[in-house]
């Protein structure tokens, strides 16, 4: 990930290196991710039981419509979707249905919102709405940090 050649003669390369680094960081943070995806509708049945959701991980795409049938197979549970702040309560034997459009991308946990036993706060599933830009951008930043740091150290030595 080195973005500059260590030219040990003048101060200019350092300057150019900084500008290059800044541009690279901005690119990683801001360049839009092209998507060519036609929205579709998912019919998903989520079963809640102590202390898990099944399925425990869902992957869809931005713009998709999600029709959820929420059921419980033991005690009263809840369903709270981080980021979307959708909340439902489900009693055993009486399923709940709701629909939402996945307009925000990223990973969102869904968690139980009705105290249902010792592990209740950790009754968690995850919904990934693609394209999951945040994790790629953050990973890109991490890689650039390593590259820039090592390149900087190399340059400091050669100047």
């Amino acid at each position: 990930m080195s973005q500059q050649d260590p030219t040990p003669t003048s101060r200019r390369p350092i300057h150019a290196g900084r500008v290059g680094l800044l541009l690279l960081v901005l690119a990683v943070l801001l360049v839009p991710v092209p998507t060519s995806h036609t929205p579709r509708t998912h019919h998903i049945t989520i079963d809640a039981s102590q202390f898990e959701y099944s399925p425990s991980r869902l992957a869809i795409n931005q713009g998709d419509t999600v029709h959820v049938t929420l059921a419980s197979s033991d005690v009263v549970h809840g369903f709270f979707l981080d980021g979307y702040e959708i909340e439902h309560r489900v009693e055993p034997g009486i399923s709940q249905e709701f629909t939402f459009v996945a307009d925000r991308t990223g990973k969102f946990h869904y968690r139980c919102s009705v105290t249902c036993g010792p592990l209740h706060p950790f009754m968690i599933g995850e919904l990934v709405v693609g394209p999951n830009e945040l994790v790629w951008r953050a990973s890109g930043l991490a890689i650039i940090a390593v590259g820039a740091m090592l390149a900087g150290a190399r340059q400091r030595r050669s100047v």
Partner: protein, 442 residues
């Protein structure tokens, strides 16, 4: 305020109030953890305040006010504020071979093996707190001063380690004044305060890890030589790790490993692992325990060792690999702390609203002391959380990389081999960061 003899004992007394409430609620209250003051105030509120605010901001400040050693310390002193100068109790010295972090490492790992149960069962949580206090009292009777805090407390170990990141420090103004000062009241104590309960000689204090911030030497020093400084965050990390000991390096590695394992187990979508960790069956827990110990004691330290050894081979340094293992361990600290902050911020903001209900109904018996019993559970900032966590983790990596370069430069001031020796460490740090990022966000 810090100069008053009452400062520390009064702070401890004040904290004994929520401490007693938490223990009582844990023992008598509802078994639903998230409705019990004992769980909510210890593992949501205290933990978050500790890891997100106190340790990164004020270092060992928790150790200043912690109520756990209070009863034992007051027994040694035969008083709460300004008791006898000559301490009571047997005053034994802690065996030399344990004057390091190994007991704390072991204690932390043992607690970590049961952490899911401790975190979710109020009575177990209360028993652990009472048990720690009991050990602290017993050790105060047998051993000198704060031997328990310094060498045994499993919490004190990582607070000390991560306190080196904090932007404050207690130090002497001029070490030469200490050398020339014959009576060394900071060690012996005098009418203004006790001799250092943490068995530290301020004149040689170099890292926050060793200082319990009890503030006694601020009172006892007759030369007005002890001060609390604001400083560049993480200044201690540029200091060499003393001696050949690798206990501190192991502490840093164990904490980094746990900062990955905890969120995977507790926040991940794998219910089976949660059940193992919660000891639903002994067999399941055994699998978890073996996996946990292998990861924390063998795999993560082993990979780090390989990274250090690989860099070492290309360096001109004539120090041993063991020594390099030790020195570079400071680079694990910012990332480890960042990972714990990311974990704690997520847990606290998601579950913080339970505190409002628990304060009105601490035992879960239906009381409504402050009218907040029925406040609904609401995660705070759930949409912003991934961005917050990403920023914390990437910053942690950044500071860890800087530390690794500084260590590399210190080992080889010419800088000729810094890049070669540090690259494998940087790769290790990057790998840990990417695992964390993908676990939280991916």
């Amino acid at each position: 305020m810090l100069l008053s003899r009452a400062f520390q004992p009064v702070s401890m007394l004040l904290l004994l109030v929520p401490y007693t409430l938490a223990v009582t609620a844990g023992l008598l209250g509802t078994s639903a953890g998230n409705r019990n003051f004992g769980i909510v105030f210890v593992w949501i509120v205290w933990w978050a305040v500790l890891m997100v605010l106190l340790v990164p901001g004020l270092g060992r400040a928790w150790c200043t006010v912690c109520p756990i050693p209070a009863p034992g310390e007051w027994m040694q002193r035969r008083g709460i504020i300004g008791g006898v100068v000559k301490l009571r109790g047997m005053g034994l010295r802690w065996p030399r071979r344990f004057r390091n972090m190994w007991v704390q490492n072991a204690g932390f790992l043992i607690m970590a093996l049961f952490s899911t149960v401790i975190l979710t069962r109020p009575s177990v949580s209360a028993a652990v707190i009472v048990g720690l206090t009991g050990v602290a009292v017993g050790m105060s009777l047998l051993f000198e001063k704060r031997t328990f805090c310094k060498y045994v407390c499993p919490v004190g170990g990582f607070i000390g380690l991560y306190s080196m990141v904090a932007p404050i420090e207690l130090r002497v103004r001029d070490a030469q004044v200490c050398v020339e000062h014959r009576s060394k009241d900071c060690i012996t104590g005098n009418e203004n305060g006790y001799g250092c309960p943490w068995m530290v000689y301020p004149g040689k204090l170099g890292r926050n890890l060793d200082c319990g911030l009890c503030t006694e030497c601020l009172k006892t020093c007759t030369m007005d030589n002890v001060v609390i400084n604001l400083r560049r965050p993480g200044a201690d990390l540029a200091q060499p790790v003393p001696g050949k000991r690798i206990d501190e390096a192991f502490k840093a590695l164990i904490m980094l490993a746990c900062s990955i394992i905890y969120p995977a187990v507790l926040f991940g979508p794998w219910a089976t692992i949660k059940e193992w960790a919660a000891i639903d069956s002994f067999g399941g827990w055994l699998i978890y325990a073996v996996g946990f110990l292998t990861a924390t004691v063998v795999v993560v330290p082993g990979l780090y060792w390989l990274a250090v050894a690989r860099g070492h081979r290309r360096s001109s340094s004539n120090l041993t690999v063991r020594r390099a293992f030790n020195e570079y361990s400071h680079a694990l600290i910012p990332l480890g702390l960042a990972a714990w902050i990311a974990f704690s911020v997520g847990f606290a903001l998601t579950n913080g609203s339970y505190a409002l209900a628990a304060i009105s109904d601490p035992l879960g018996w239906g009381w409504n002391l402050f009218g907040t019993r029925d406040v609904a559970w609401t995660p705070y900032l759930s949409g912003a959380m991934p961005f917050i966590q990403a920023a914390i983790l990437v910053s942690g990596l950044f500071f860890s990389l800087r530390t690794s370069l500084k260590v590399g430069l210190r080992r080889d001031p010419s800088g000729a081999t810094t890049v070669q020796t540090t690259t494998p460490i940087a790769a290790f740090l990057l790998a840990a960061t990417l695992i964390l990022l993908w676990m939280y966000l991916g």
